[in-house]
Symmetry: D2
Subunit: 367 residues, 4 copies
């Protein structure tokens, strides 16, 4: 990763600010011949789009993606793909107060301290709007995965909102698309709606935990020691705005396990591939995929733009109070679900290409 | 990060296997004129060295580091610094069984599936011995930090071992050096000793959580969106063997907070620098340092090399049982403390150089 | 450099095809606070623009650059700058024949062999139109240089067209802007006009040599061994379409010199800086700038799109004859002058930042 | 390339100084399973070794390479390969004078101006000894090429020494190994011996041009726009000490050709692959290999360490005269032949892996 770029071979550079003319992703290294068009990418962008329920910001953005380069007659050419999204609903007036005051818990102050200049409108580059570009790039990565490794599926969902966690015994994958929280637990969906309604009305916000699972990923992707699959997944998720923690498999809970409990036992499956008694590892051992589900979780902090009065300072160092009016997400973790999926898609594709580059298709066979 | 390299400008490539002739770190991009010699690096290596208490592996390694290039008359020259550590206590006979069988929870199987060949002696490249090279590189980073930003201090310690957590009310920084667990809580140190003794005797192992804090880091280090300071810290820690989760500040716990609770309020300090009412952010907002303490935690899973019988398979796909005899760490998290510190030192120095490259010293001043 | 990206800290990724909707450059790592707007970049683009004399392609492109991100109130913010140029004059019909046949001397065949798909309209990604994006990025680099190192000036010009070389004794820097060839020799300008007229009418084309000089570059920029200033300049120039050779200082002619002739003698200047008796080195010793003029030359091969009949094959492997009608440059080297300047600006700025990152401003002083 | 590293996927970082304890190459990303041992690499190092004839420096170095990591039972494991060469004949006393004075035409002064410190013994990092590490890495690349693309052959030779060029009509590949100049022209070999003898006795030195040809390289390697095969070859060759110019195919001479002359006509060969009437392109079109021979030439300037008196200055800025005694190469271009071959091997392998990563083996077929 280098400033605004991630990926080894499938390299994504995002650009753009919340209230500039446009934002987007420049994607280099995509395999050629991948069927893709704007409509296909739009499908994924529409899932992230704000204003779809009362639980996300009421900013109205069409989020229409244009493909400006790198495709020809509906397929990628292997040259850079430029994905551009015009900003349409910018209402700069909402943001005038934060030109002078720094929002507590927000990047306002650090951007100022670093650069000595910042586009304060809507958070500028630090806005969650940047994630639209990731979702567009992730859509392209999914299209490439479909061509190269069609058995791979990627699914994200919420597993926690504030103090409320899902009940894994009620886990129902089909439930995810039926509620505004992408939560795989119908009971939780109802409870969370009530809880978030209350928070939203009080002008407050809350954090969340998102889980993303990739199934069908072949064994052998990744690399020691720094280009590990888990390293890249951790970086990818931590790079999403507002993320403060990342877990692979057991995650932080691995600290509580004994070696005996943690070691997933290995057996031979009927198809000649290893199977495991459990998946504490989250599908990764020694930085390399096992062939089991890749399981990643990340915690998203609550939005700092809230209607609560907080103490802060101004650019000139004066003490001040701040209340952030405007259109914000009471739980920005909700919209992080498609973003986490997009990052997973990019990382898996990138490691697929990286593995193919160094090894070809001929690793070690068992049995 | 690319395979075995990390860092943007201060670039560390580690190399070497557990039972090869040597291992080390090739460090490129170090500032010139930094006072450093082998003794200075040895200080940090000695802290990580195995066999110092009954709680770490009884392998006896001198872990003597040689500086083969990049220094002249006791100072760095700005050219690559080669840090080499010879392996001396290799006893390959201990590892003969794992040439054919894969240890559950270990990288044995994934290395085989990826490469079709592996140096099975002592885990080869996936061995925790690789971290000696990181500690040597981290010692160099500390020396450079001392020259460039002498106010920076870095301190790691354990905060959890298995189910046992420290009591933050008993936090005593001076206690860290007084017990074999680097734990800042004298009571915990006693309790953990009993607990780990029991585990060790039963041939089992357990996980841990390590916290690393960097103080004195100037505001403004980091970068949107993928080269964020927290992204690089997450990657750095996740790249350490056996790490399964990484947290910045509140970490996974940020999910439970409301926006009002989470937003660290800002005031002007007496020295004209902002001060904060709290540090939920762990010293990073929008990927950029605030000037507060950088607070990172990571979970280390239990060693998979245990004296417990586990089900596994052989390279030829036969079912098998495995018990890993040999000299292993009952809680490898202990030795991860100096490793976490080393990674913190490398990342902070790297971002200091990166910031200087793009911005010079002239960011925005408050007040 | 990685596929479509170059630069260490000032990183330029270009994207876009000749006949797609747009092309551009995504520039990451630009210092913040640099005054820049579209008009300033347009100045440089207008110099490269086709159709300005009868000696360049008659394609009519407005080449209007838009800045879509990374600036605020007329200054860079330190976040990625997206420079986009819409294609307006595409006339795809001219290119129908080359969909099936490969032009000898052109990338048609290699793109096909590599990717199995290509946007054949106007050369697609391999078109010289891509260089418009470089010139835009170079304009940004010049603006940053003006802010950081205002004494740096960059000047390119032609020194050879086909068999005709300039006479160094007639070298007149002011002449460069007075003729359509950017040639610093009034006599040559006249001769070349006649020569190229003849070639153009016969449907042929010819090669050229361009020289680019950067003055005022401080001593100390560059790095051993692979990130050398001359390495990066060579790569930068060789990456321009149709370039087949690159020289620093004496270049290929260095082979003919003895050590005694080649070694530029050193003296102390009145301002306490070293001065040299000559500049065979082209301003670079050991990959690091001396403070003398950086002198780079590169050879541009003749355009392969010509009105002469040539033997070739089709995609299906049939023998064929080809004549490339359409609007082409009889000497594409002419338009390479502003492109070479742009690459020089990007490389010098990049190394300025890189040096500042590793060293700060404190290298060794003489005297 | 980044400071001391080159390559996209096959990444080589060299380290070490002329008179430090050792130097070497850390090679990451090598494919696993490649048969290699120290003896195999030694074969290539012995070709570069000084002191083999009276025409190269009389420094006596065993140049024995050790493989410290990344191989197991005679094959690469896919993890980093550390290649180390101990310095044995250092005689620091020869170099005492240059501690204070800067040699004209040498990196002494620029290293000082950049870093403010330098290992002046034998040129330190800027010594041609660094190229031993390249040759070792190149030997590994050749071994990998032998496994992946056994039809590839790489051959370097001198084509010019001072004013003397080979006669292409006398070109005899078998002659290369029969003379101390690696020159494929028996008559030239004799003439050059007389010429160089005279120069050597007078304490002078002279430049040279080396040509390196890779045959059997498949079509399709390379990439637009900055990761071009020719860009990477130019950078690779320009990164060698003392190189001042690089040419692909016609090189600088392309400037003199018309489009009609330059465009290599295409025909179908009997084996269903395209054949060309000529190879002005040097095997690369649009940055991508055509399947023809890759032809690269580079000019090496004369050694600056000569027995002639030259004017210079000291570190404290005093005027001084300098004569460099010691053991130097009258034509360092001779020993650049195996170095150029090594760089070619590294670049071709790297692009083979890069192509496989992005495209797999399925590009476009003709016919």
């Amino acid at each position: 990763m280098s400033l605004n770029t991630f990926g080894h071979l499938f390299r994504v550079t995002t650009w753009g600010e919340s209230h500039g003319p446009a934002l987007g992703a420049t994607v280099d290294g995509c395999p050629p011949g991948v069927p893709v068009d704007a409509a296909l990418l739009q499908h994924w962008l529409d899932r992230r789009k704000p204003g779809q329920s009362k639980y996300t910001t009421q900013r109205r953005e069409a989020d229409e993606v244009e493909i400006l380069s790198g495709t020809f007659e509906g397929r990628t050419t292997g040259t850079p793909v430029q994905l551009t999204i015009r900003n349409t609903d910018q209402r700069s007036k909402d943001y005038s107060e934060i030109a002078e005051k720094f929002r507590p818990g927000h990047a306002d102050i650090t951007y100022w301290q670093k650069y000595g200049i910042r586009d304060y409108r809507g958070g500028g580059r630090s806005s969650a709007r940047e994630t639209a570009a990731r979702v567009a790039a992730g859509g392209l990565a999914r299209a490439a995965l479909k061509a190269l490794a069609p058995q791979v599926t990627i699914r994200g969902y919420m597993v926690q909102m504030g103090p409320h966690r899902i009940d894994r015994d009620r886990f129902d994958i089909d439930e995810i698309e039926r509620n505004p929280f992408w939560v795989p637990d119908a009971v939780a969906a109802g409870d969370w709606a009530d809880y978030l309604d209350g928070l939203r009305k009080s002008g407050n916000s809350v954090g969340a935990v998102v889980e993303v699972v990739a199934s069908g990923v072949p064994a052998g992707l990744g690399a020691p020691i720094y280009g590990k699959l888990d390293t890249d997944l951790a970086a990818a998720m931590m790079s999403i705005n507002a993320v403060k923690g990342v877990e692979i498999g057991e995650g932080m809970g691995a600290a509580e396990l004994t070696g005996e409990e943690n070691a997933d036992e290995i057996f031979m499956g009927n198809d000649g591939q290893p199977v495991y008694s459990s998946n504490h590892a989250g599908g990764i051992l020694g930085g390399i995929s096992t062939g089991q589900d890749l399981v990643v979780r990340f915690a998203v902090k609550p939005t700092s733009s809230i209607l609560k009065t907080r103490q802060t300072i101004t650019k000139s160092g004066e003490a001040a109070e701040i209340i952030t009016k405007g259109r914000h997400d009471p739980c920005v973790g909700i919209r992080a679900v498609p973003v986490g999926e997009a990052m997973m898609a990019c990382v898996v594709l990138d490691h697929l290409l990286l593995h193919r580059g160094q090894i070809g298709d001929a690793g070690g066979r068992i049995g």
